[in-house]
């Protein structure tokens, strides 16, 4: 789908205070276009709770409930139950960062997923606590500089999308701020499904990742092209690669070396050859694992990324 074919209605308004080149605001704009008017956002503490604007103004043109950090999935559960009880049709959607999803909000997220609450949970993952000023989260990749990992993080990131697959919820998808058409399609699909839906969007952050603001889309795409971020959908127990990740898995496109992605970002500037090799090893291992989970055919290109 072409971006020009998306609805003209804007629900994330001009003048919001997101940074220039913010991957999350691009994604939110697209998500709200896909969801439409009858949507309530539940937003925990995050960059979005800042760039939505200060009272009495708001840059978001659907009803928004601001949540405490740990409990957006629980607030959304109560809100959905309430609206359902009143007979109101509404998409109740959590819009949370990786801090609010991977770390402090994980318990409430897991609870809501297990209860199969009829809500859409979207994590915009910029791989750091960006709103508090670039600290590590458990979504921060190995080697990345943050203000609390000044020599680079020593652990690999965890993967909550995979964890949601393990919960067996009706729909899980990964997406990227560099592929808004794919994101739009996945949100539309999620909207048509009942029960708990989880979508995680890789959202590059210029100040946090230390790159120039005009390169957000390029970097988001490189994350997919180098295999650092895998695009997929999980539905009815079947995992399917999508977009560029599918082309790579099918052997139609060669995976680029991770260095192409890492070298563009200041957060990885200090990495030595050994650390870069460790990231290569991690990507290969991840792909092998996902190749085994693939439900729509074999991964032809598995040998390419060892």
């Amino acid at each position: 789908m072409r971006i020009s074919a998306m609805p003209e209605e804007e629900y994330l308004l001009e003048g919001n205070s997101a940074c220039h080149g913010c991957g999350s605001s691009m994604a939110l704009r697209t998500v709200l276009k896909a969801l439409g008017k009858n949507t309530v956002l539940v937003v925990p503490a995050s960059c979005t709770s800042v760039y939505q604007g200060m009272y009495p103004n708001s840059a978001i043109a659907v009803p928004v409930v601001n949540s405490a950090f740990a409990c957006s999935a629980a607030i959304a559960s109560g809100l959905k139950a309430s609206l359902e009880h009143k007979g109101m049709e509404a998409n109740v959607v959590v819009w949370a960062g990786d801090g609010g999803t991977y770390d402090i909000g994980l318990q409430a997220l897991s609870g809501a997923a297990e209860r199969n609450e009829d809500i859409i949970y979207i994590c915009y993952n910029n791989e750091i606590y960006s709103n508090t000023g670039i600290q590590r989260s458990s979504a921060t990749p190995f080697g990345a500089w943050t203000t609390t990992t000044v020599h680079g993080k020593r652990e690999h990131r965890k993967d909550v999308a995979e964890l949601m697959v393990a919960h067996g919820v009706p729909y899980v998808a990964t997406a990227s701020s560099g592929h808004l058409d794919d994101l739009y399609r996945k949100i539309r699909k999620a909207k048509s499904i009942e029960g708990f839906r989880y979508i995680e969007i890789l959202s590059p952050c210029p100040p946090g990742w230390k790159y120039s603001m005009e390169r957000t889309v390029e970097i988001a795409r490189l994350a997919v092209e180098t295999g650092m971020w895998i695009l997929y959908e999980y539905e009815n127990g079947i995992l399917k690669f999508t977009g560029v990740s599918k082309a790579i898995a099918d052997g139609k496109k060669r995976m680029k070396d991770v260095e192409e992605y890492l070298l563009l970002q200041g957060r990885f500037a200090h990495l030595n050859a050994e650390e870069i090799q460790e990231i290569r090893r991690y990507v290969a291992e991840k792909w092998r694992k996902f190749a085994g989970m693939r439900g729509d055919g074999h991964v032809v290109a598995a040998e390419f990324f060892v």
Binding site: G53, M54, A74, H85, Q107
Partner: protein
Amino acid sequence: MKELLLTGNQAVAHAVRNSGVEVVSAYPITPSTPVVEEIAKMVERGEMNAKLILVESEHSAMSACIGASLGGVRAFTATSSHGLAYMHEMLHYAVNARTPVVMAVANRAIGPGWNIWADLSDSMSQRDVGWIQLYCESNQEIYDSIAMAYRVAEHEDVILPVMVCYDGFVLSHTSMPVKPDDLREFTGEYEPLWKVDFENPETHGNILPPDYFMELRYEICRSHAAALKIMERVEREFYETFSRRTPLIFESYRLDDADVAIVTAGAISSEAKIAVDSLREKGVRAGLLRIRCFRPLPSHRIVQALRDVERVYVFDRSVSVGSEGQIFQELRSAFYGFQSSPEICGYVVGLGGRDVTSEIFENAVTGRINSEWVMEVVV
């Protein structure tokens, strides 16, 4: 209306059903667990038209109630002790978000060492979060308080959450006769302050800069003050509807001509009443002021009720560590600046379920207890 034999927890569940609660979210903890077990049965049997959200923590239970209340329905939860402590952040949240959730708190000590028995430490520790707090003496009062709590909480001049507190086991697991009046008409309809409106979308709870924040807090304080007036009205209306006097602010027991007054909250008040009767038989003109509403603190009304007595004996079943019992602190503070203030003495009693007997009150009044901590176990 035929009386039923109900435990405190069952009284809560019946009142919740009969008050027209639409969303219940909870996490089990002793001794409040049976409240939600009972409600789950009622929902399953189709006796209660409510959605039950069985969450993974008390923090989420309160969060789900806040979400439900924002969505425009009447929400309820129950908890105790560590569960209430774990909710702390969301207790603040419910106040500033102006969500009139009602919560039953079966009071219990906080560990470690693990202690499941009654004291008021859990709810007293939450006195500054902005919830209205009611304390109960009997299961009928628990039943009535749930309905009255919704009336106060949802009143347009109030719009604040209310916790209905009752001693764990002493009330929560003890059966008493309760008149299960139909409360539906009395509780009326809930009209939320903020609405999910897709035509006129509004953002709830975004950044509130210094230019506005103090007004938000000031309004909450004003609503607390207004709540006392609303409580008087609700008390009256409750009596007119059910011909039963259930005090909401405090109860005065043989206080009119009293020289000495005992002040309590919760289940120990029944023992205090026995002490008052016994002291009167011995020629001591004693009375009792039983606090029902601790937040907002009805300071003026308490001063009016106690200003003519010579001595006041305050019994706290909790303590502000590093200071004194909370009710004792606040009573002295209420009398500050009054020339004819009675002498006020404070005692800490009954922590972690230690028995509080009528003898303790009597011994304090007759001068046979000299310690501020009443530790002895009276058999």
